[in-house]
Symmetry: C2
Subunit: 229 residues, 2 copies
DNA sequence: CTTAAAACATGACCATTATCAGTTTTAAGT
DNA sequence: ACTTAAAACTGATAATGGTCATGTTTTAAG
């Protein structure tokens, strides 16, 4: 449970900032940054932005998890990415000039700061390190998505689930993986029923432990083997 | 058939340049660009770069088509993107510092210019318009790939083929679509046999015309309906 | 503490699509 | 023009995984 006090975050003491795009900022830049951002508390399942709308700024996660997803023709979500503390999201469309092609919602209660479009673009113009960090980030994600596409096209659901669990483990770190079955299915790209059956298999094979909603990997080796490489 | 003379291209008269990243270049910049680039003729199926290696520069297509692909665990290709004249490819990994996550090979005989890494990065530093163009391009592709992932996860092969044919039509423009069945299958993300059967269906439904290797869309409306949206 | 709704789970069924094993056609090189 | 290899195609078969129907558990709200 997040304290209400968490609502007010200062960039100088923000532990998430260290491994964020703003991790290299010096003292005076942090003060400026802190001045420009607004911080908000979000409940579970609150939208940050929605596919089709135009961006007004970027979101910087201080605490919590956010799913980034698109909807297919039948409205089913496909989760593209799960953002965690320190991640900055929503800048893609600001550069392309297009409306958002993805939506983003909190997966749990979160503290998230907002930096307006103009402020952010100005920072980018004047700060080559930030700029290069963003270019690097865009490029890295582009590579990840190429692999994501290939996995979707060529791996079985079982293999994709193994792969996804390994990614989720990285995202959740010390915490247990905590997603609804539906969200996990939408990340793996399968039907909820299929996902539930496969989780049961993995549990019986002693690859994972299931604690109702939460989930823990107990045999990473096996998962790696199933995921293929 | 490309003339041997096509091998030597000057940026000033390069028709592909107009709608490329360098489209906004002024006269003196074009002269510099021309000085920095090297132009080469490629036969069909020649690699430009290979997954896992490190980039030495970027490739600018003057004429021809190039497939950008990754290989899955069993070595099967998944085509992520097909580049045409005017497209600049291979810059992603230069920014991320990682090795290439994709490979690129010519699909037909092509004239392709090369700009060395240092020259290119220098141009980027000194030219905000180029820089912003690249950021925009990266962002746009990121959006496209989110949709690609969703299509892979949620659409049937039939729907994906329809979708892919519409994309291929844009890429090939006036020319007829000209890909081996295997390449097309690797773009759609399916088995070659399945692709062949579906093409036959589409032909019988008078959606496409097949001229041995080449292929033409005759009913775009139907394709749009099948592709969904 | 109760109750309704959401999430989770399981079974039965079948359509889609991959795989394998071939044959025919096309293209490329000598 | 002839030879050969690669590409295109066809058919049969099987399994993966989606859908629907239904029951159970968990969670959240009053």
């Amino acid at each position: 449970m997040l304290e209400k006090s968490h609502k007010h975050v200062t960039c100088a003491t923000c532990s998430a900032r260290k491994n964020s795009l703003f991790g290299t900022y010096g003292e005076s830049e942090v003060i400026d940054l802190n001045h420009e951002k607004m911080c908000n508390y979000y409940k579970k399942n609150q939208p940050l932005f929605v596919e089709g709308s135009f961006p007004r700024g970027v979101f910087c996660l201080n605490q919590g998890k956010v799913k980034v997803f698109t909807r297919g023709d039948e409205g089913k979500e496909q989760i593209i990415h799960i953002a965690k503390a320190g991640d900055v999201i929503g800048f893609r469309s600001m550069f392309s000039g297009e409306p958002y092609k993805v939506s983003a919602s909190t997966l749990e209660e979160s503290n998230i700061c907002f930096i307006g479009k103009d402020d952010f673009l100005l920072m980018m113009e004047s700060n080559p390190i930030l700029r290069n960090g963003i270019i690097k980030e865009l490029s890295k994600e582009l590579g990840d998505r190429a692999q994501f596409i290939t996995n979707m096209a060529q791996k079985s659901v079982r293999e994709r689930l193994a792969f996804s669990l390994l990614i989720l483990e990285e995202i959740y770190g010390e915490e247990e993986i905590n997603l609804t079955r539906e969200d996990m299915a939408n990340f793996v790209g399968t039907a909820t029923e299929t996902l539930i059956r496969l989780l049961k298999d993995f549990k019986e094979d002693e690859i994972i432990e299931i604690h109702t909603r939460k989930l823990q990997i107990v045999n990473r080796e096996k998962l790696l083997r199933i995921a293929g490489r």
